[in-house]
Each structure stands twice: as C-alpha cells, then as structure tokens.
Amino acid sequence: MIKTVISIALRLMIICLVAAGALAYVNGITAPQVAASKAQAELDALSVINQAGTIGKKVEGDGAGVNYYFPVTDNGTVTNYILSLKSQGYGGDLIILANFKANGEIIDAKLMEDAETPGLGKKAEESWYMNKFKGTGASTPVPVKKTMLAAADADVISGATITFTGVSKALEYGSDFAKKLGGQQ
C-alpha cells in the first residue's frame, strides 16, 4: 500500500519536474524578447504623444490611478507630464499613456492595453478616439459623461459607454495628478 503511494507520488513528481524544467528553458528564451517588445511599444507611443521637449526619467506613480510618469522638460523647466494611467474598462484593465500640460490640459493620449469588445470599445485604440479629450482638463473639464460631449462624439461612444467612462475617468484623474505636480520634477 505504502509502496504504491510512494511510486505514484514519485512518478507525478518526475512529470512535474520535467515540465518545470522545460518551462524554465523556454522562459529563458522568451523573457528578454517580451521585455524588449513591451519597452519598444512604450517608446513608440511616447514619441508619438510627446510633442516637444525632452522626456525625463521614469518616476513611480501613486499606486492608485497612476502607474508611473515621465516629466517632460523644455530648456530645464518642466512643461508636461506623460502619465501611464490605469483604469477599468468593459473587458478588463485599461492602460493609457497620456501627455498632460503642467496645468492639467490633455495634449494627447493613447490606449496601450485593453480587452474591449471589437467594433465597439476596441475603437478607443484608434487615435481619433482621443480627439474629444484633447484641450480639456484645464479651463474646460474633462468630459466624463455623454452629455458633456458634442452630439457627433456622443454617437461614436454609443454602445461602449463603459469603455468611455473608463478612459475619461483615467484622463480626469491624470489631469488632476498633473495639476498637483504643478511643474515640479
């Protein structure tokens, strides 16, 4: 009895060990590639949404809505912040990279990661989606409700209101975060 139990346990253990070894080997090959492609995607997005100035060193976020941010300097003074924002969409987490002026105004934004519905919420990945937010956040508030949008923009988000709410709340949070930083490193 004891013998069979030990034999079963040993056999299962051997299978697990071989599987773990194989996985460790594959991970050793793919992990650098994964890290590199993620870094590249972020670099590409940074260069698109940064309009002028030099992107500074990455700073850790507040652990809530801001993952991390980069101050953008122009001749030594901080003019903008590029924030990596986290929010909830319809299908899961949303990660948004957005460029704010130090007064909280949204310059540009890009949806980096999402799991939204194709044809509806997935549209938020396209660059025109963020146009309705550009220029808001300072003197005009970030539109967080459908009623705050122009009729044409409101039509576009119909059927994907949860995505819109996720994106707009993140941008509103980012705008406030940039205001609080207020030009400091």
Partner: protein, 198 residues
C-alpha cells in the same frame, strides 16, 4: 490510419458534432486572425500532449492520470503562451485569458482520455492533428461569419479587408457573445441536418 486524421474534420468535428470546447469558441471567434491564432495554439498543444500522453501511458499510474495529463497539457499551454507573448504580442493581447484556458479546454483533455492513453504514438498524432484542424476550421468559419456581419471586416495576418456596404452598418449583435451563440447554433443545426440526411 488516415481515418484517425479525417474523423476530426467533419464526422467527429469537435465543435459542430461533439460540441467540445465551446467557451473558447464563443469568446475567441471575434476576428478571423484571433481564430487562426487560437487554432494554431490548440493544434500545437493537442498534438504535443497526445504524443506525450501516448508515450507515457504505461508510466502514468491510472489513479492519478487526470492530474498527470493536466500537468503535461499545462506545460505545453504555458510554452504556447510564452512564445505568443514574445513573438505575437498583438495576438496574445487579443486572445487574453483564453490562451491559459486552453489547459482546461475539453477537446484536449477529452482526446487524452478518450484516445491518446489507449493508442500508439502515430495514431495519437493523427488524432490530435485532425481534431485540432477540425477545431480551427470551425472556429475560423464562425469568426469569418461574425467578423463580416458584425464589423464588416476580415482581419488576416498582415492585412485587413473591409467589406463594402456591411462595414457602414454592421449587425452589432453578431460581434457579441450572444451573436456567437446564434452563429454556432445555426451551423450546428446545419451539420445535424447533414448527418440526418445521410
């Protein structure tokens, strides 16, 4: 021998006839490219796990065969997941949680339990290949119908074809899981009809 391969395509098609693996079918048949990617992942896992389970059938004690199968299957799924994340990050992001969920895909455990642990390596490879390709064809067919009607596009690796007319006013519900169920139901009815007629 060749029957082991062809049975998965039509006669015992995993989705339309034996109705296995329906959850990932409904969830990943949103775009043609997702269906092809998911299909490739399933074929790889199915063939590899069939090979190993058929090789190990005398080594694996009968009482703990299910955990042993799951370990083998999970190892291959994790390999697929890591390779996909490294070399096709867009596909990896689109398939999301359904890549790790291949582990519990009934097709794979089903074939291990029903076929690979009773047969030699070569028939097991053919069985896995046939079932995997049958799954991929069905998934792609559903995805093609859903993507054309639901978004008016056909997304293939490297290019997107826009279907004129439909893309302006697509039938939105087809892009949702409910639409997937409708399409799957109609296709299943068709396959049923065919087999009854024979």
């Amino acid at each position: 021998m060749i029957k082991e391969f062809t049975k998965g395509l039509f006669k015992e098609n995993p989705i339309f006839v034996i109705a296995l693996g329906l959850c990932p079918t409904l969830a990943t048949s949103t775009m043609v490219i997702n269906a092809l990617g998911m299909g490739a992942g399933v074929i790889f896992v199915l063939v590899c796990s069939n090979i190993f389970i058929s090789l190990l059938k005398d080594f694996i004690p009968d009482t703990v065969r299910i955990p042993a199968y799951i370990v083998v299957i999970a190892a291959f799924v994790t390999i697929v997941q890591m390779v996909m994340e490294a070399y096709c990050p867009a596909l990896y992001a689109a398939l999301g949680v359904f890549v790790p969920l291949i582990v519990v895909n009934c097709i794979i455990l089903g074939r291990a339990e029903a076929f690979a642990n009773k047969n030699k390596v070569l028939p097991s490879i053919l069985d896995g290949l046939g079932m995997g390709i049958g799954f991929t064809i069905s998934l792609t067919l559903i995805a093609l119908i859903r993507e054309v009607l639901g978004s008016g596009t056909i997304t293939l690796p490297g290019c997107v074809i826009t279907v004129p007319g439909i893309s302006l006013a697509p039938i939105r519900v087809i892009a949702f899981p409910a639409g997937a169920l409708l399409v799957l139901g109609l296709l299943r009815a068709y396959f049923q009809h065919r087999s009854i007629k024979k």
